[in-house]
């Protein structure tokens, strides 16, 4: 493991941890420097599998996965201290969080070129993996390896997994499988099914034809624009003080009804709404 990448003293960490952790950069395609944060298993790092985790967007950081979802030390609401996550996935695996593509989070492109797409991202991520297993952590190359992620990683994960399998003769990684949570697998099926999902959860009725353009727009307005928590229908909808110029909601909304005529209007409404909670 690279000594220069080891995290020695993490601010806000006020409890003891029984694993080592690293943060640094992996080389992707030319000029692409992808930030990684690797937390070793707290059980038996040499024997436990390596799990790659990617968040989606496209354009959202996997630091959310590390510091809010499955990592060992989520950030407290104060933004300064970390708490212990007793259900962290590094209880049984070495977990690699990768910020991709370049220009997401702390990843960067040497020339400031942030434009990219699905194929280029999977290629760059593949090169980053090779860098990880060749130069940074060769001792983990024999471990079982899984590729996982969430949301738009429904595209990142399968496309990367295909590349790893196709590249096995050239560069063998002990790939065992992949897992995707709430992934975007098909724009069409995701759009079609949300109408049924909304109907069966009582968000709207069947008094008008759902096939008409206007009714789909009405349905999407109810689902995404009237103050429901689109990420968790039954959860609270906390007020969100401005947290940046571009939000996770906007990134995820960009995947929904993207071919529908009402899509630009839906995005515009989302951007205009300020703490207009119901």
């Amino acid at each position: 493991a690279p000594d220069s990448d080891e995290i020695i003293d993490l601010p806000g960490l006020n409890h003891n941890i029984s694993f080592r952790h690293y943060s640094g950069y992996l080389s992707g395609a030319e000029g692409k420097h992808l930030h990684y944060w690797f937390v070793e298993s707290s059980r038996s790092p040499a024997d436990d599998p390596v799990v790659l985790w990617m968040n989606g967007g496209p354009g959202c950081s996997s630091m959310e996965g590390l510091l809010a979802e499955l990592g060992p030390y989520p950030v407290n609401p104060d933004g300064k201290t970390l708490k212990e996550n007793i259900y962290a996935w590094n209880k049984m695996a070495n977990v690699l969080f990768l910020e991709a593509p370049a220009c997401v989070g702390y990843s960067y492109d040497t020339n400031g070129d942030c434009a990219t797409g699905d194929d280029e991202v999977s290629f760059s991520n593949y090169l980053a993996l090779k860098d990880f297993f060749t130069n940074k952590f060769p001792e983990y190359r024999k471990n079982e390896f899984f590729i996982t992620g969430e949301s738009y990683a429904g595209v990142y994960v399968p496309t990367l997994t295909v590349r790893v399998l196709e590249g096995q003769q050239d560069f063998n990684i002990n790939l065992q499988g992949y897992a995707i949570g709430n992934g975007l697998s098909s724009y069409k099926l995701n759009d079609d099914s949300i109408i049924f999902f909304g109907y069966f959860h009582g968000l709207f009725g069947d008094d008008r034809s759902c096939l008409l353009f206007l009714q789909v727009a009405v349905a999407s307005d109810i689902i995404y624009n009237q103050g429901l928590n689109m990420y968790n229908l039954y959860d609270d909808c906390p007020a969100s003080p401005s947290a940046g110029n571009f939000s996770r909601v906007e990134a995820d909304l960009s995947n929904i009804f993207k071919e529908h005529k009402s899509h630009p209007e839906m995005m515009l409404k989302a951007r205009k709404r300020i703490n207009n909670l119901t």
């Binding site: 020695i8 993490l10 806000g12 943060s23 599998p49 967007g57 496209p58 354009g59 959202c60 630091m63 959310e64 510091l67 809010a68 979802e69 933004g79 259900y87 962290a88 996935w89 702390y106 434009a115 990219t116 797409g117 699905d118 280029e120 996982t148 949301s151 429904g154 595209v155 496309t159 997994t161 399998l165 499988g177 992949y178 897992a179 949570g181 709430n182 992934g183 697998s185 098909s186 099926l189 099914s193 429901l228 990420y231 968790n232 229908l233 909808c237 906390p238 969100s240 003080p241 947290a243 940046g244 571009f246 939000s247 996770r248 909304l253 929904i256 951007r271 205009k272 300020i274 207009n276």
Partner: protein, 147 residues
Amino acid sequence: LDPPCTNGTNLLMYLNTPEVRKAIHIPDSVGKFELCSDEVNHDYKREYESMKPQYEFLTARVRGLVYNGDIDMACNFLGDEWFVESLGLRVVEGRKVWTEGGQVGGYVKRFENLDLLTVRGAGHMVPEDKPAPALKMITSFIFKKPY
């Protein structure tokens, strides 16, 4: 102008702290941290409408798990269920309840080389919403244990 229901302020504050940047070896030349990049999202080329060809390739070669928090509306469980069913894979185990801590964790249906699973009461961010069931789920998948 962030819409409601997401609040990443704590992450932004933490990751943009100079001491944290230094501890995780971020060069000074790299700009401030944002959770999502408008620039990347706006210019991103979405080259695939469906992942069906990729799954057809993968399910013949390695194990997979598709899981969904069942109250998410960004990528809802029904869409992924329809997607997995559309692959026409051989069913290994019919749909049944899986449990965690004596409670219903959700439902699971197992196809050849692909498990389809819901996490009851979880939204989009499953490991955050239902940490204990999420850990059990991923452990079961990785180590080939029963869900």
